[in-house]
Subunit: 211 residues, 2 copies
């Protein structure tokens, strides 16, 4: 499979290409040169050509890129042509915000259910998704085709939550707990460490003027 | 100033060092060798020594690192010895979740106020921080010492929100809108593009088994 050779750095840039191409399509732009795309994306044209050459043959000499084709091909690589069910463990501020965030659904991601241990939350719904007790998680997963689990529990509970998730066969974890999870090799994890991102800003402020 | 030479990659790793050192201190560990730290952080010991050498003299041959000193020094670099006021523009799901997230305050970040255009939200509070109309933002900032602005508005409103923020002299923006902001060079930005992070997981699922 050709995709095996694609570097992580390129993969990391794909969602951004996808976003720009979607915007272009919304503006009615059907084709674009790598020069024009580079201007909009603030990358060099050669970087763009190199990145996109990884997927072979989307651009044509003298014509440029067909925006819709390229968007669709990148979408397919990113698995956006399929729908993905999300389960969210932890129905606190972050968990509920993610469940209430409608934008994901436009990209094929839909929240199936939330789980918590707080009895006051059990039975409530967030944008149609029910909050259940975490004790129900394994039973729920027997019948659910959710493929992505979101960890939005306090950090002390994150590792055991991750283990529960893995026991149920889920292979993709979106981790909002501020901890590095220990996971089997075949489970993918994306960490969103909000505090660390905020600390980068604080660092910038600390050295503003001295840079 | 010595810090000028530190690479961005090293700076990016500082919050993670800070987190591990804080955990060690909580466990009562006073000193640690680079080998032991490397085992816990799953990095090579030579990478750790290289990183920390950037800040000079925190480790001692045969003794290892003094955990508290090292944590404090990294904290100072990250500006965590000062307090930072946050203003949040956009009091929707994400904005409110961030305002309700108490963990930031332990690190010197406190939310001063939220701003929105939705009249139904104006006057309400989230964990003690008031939601005001965005028309009040400039007036508020005349008397506020908030140094970090959070953009949690829909993407179509993000750029103009960023310009408003910059007009008020804020030099650090935490951007949750799914768009690349055009900003003056002296304004630092950290993007939290949740959709892009989710797409990475979707990509992993797409190619699971073929890797």
């Amino acid at each position: 499979m050709e995709n095996k050779k694609i570097s992580t750095a390129v993969i990391r840039r794909l969602p951004r290409y996808y976003r720009f191409l979607t915007d272009l399509l919304c503006e009615g732009v059907c084709r674009i040169s790598s020069d024009e795309l580079s201007r909009r994306m603030r990358m060099t044209a050669s970087q763009i050509r190199q990145d996109l050459n990884n997927f072979g043959g989307f651009g044509q000499q003298g014509y440029g890129y067909n925006v819709e084709n390229l968007k669709n091909e990148i979408g397919k690589l990113l698995g956006l042509d399929k729908s993905h069910g999300l389960v969210i463990i932890g129905a606190g501020n972050i968990g509920k915000a993610l469940a209430g965030y409608s934008n994901f659904e436009g990209q094929g991601f839909a929240v199936s259910a939330l789980f918590d241990i707080d009895e006051n939350l059990i039975g409530k719904t967030v944008r149609g998704a029910r909050i259940m007790h975490v004790d129900m998680f394994e039973a729920f997963m027997e019948y659910s085709d959710a493929s992505i689990a979101v960890i939005a529990v306090p950090r002390d509970a994150a590792q055991q939550t991750a283990e529960l998730i893995c026991r149920c066969g889920i292979k993709a974890i979106w981790n909002f707990a501020h901890v590095d999870l220990v996971l089997p090799e075949d489970v993918a994890v994306e960490n969103v460490h909000l505090s660390e991102s905020l600390m980068q800003l604080s660092y910038s402020l600390n050295f503003a003027g001295s840079l």
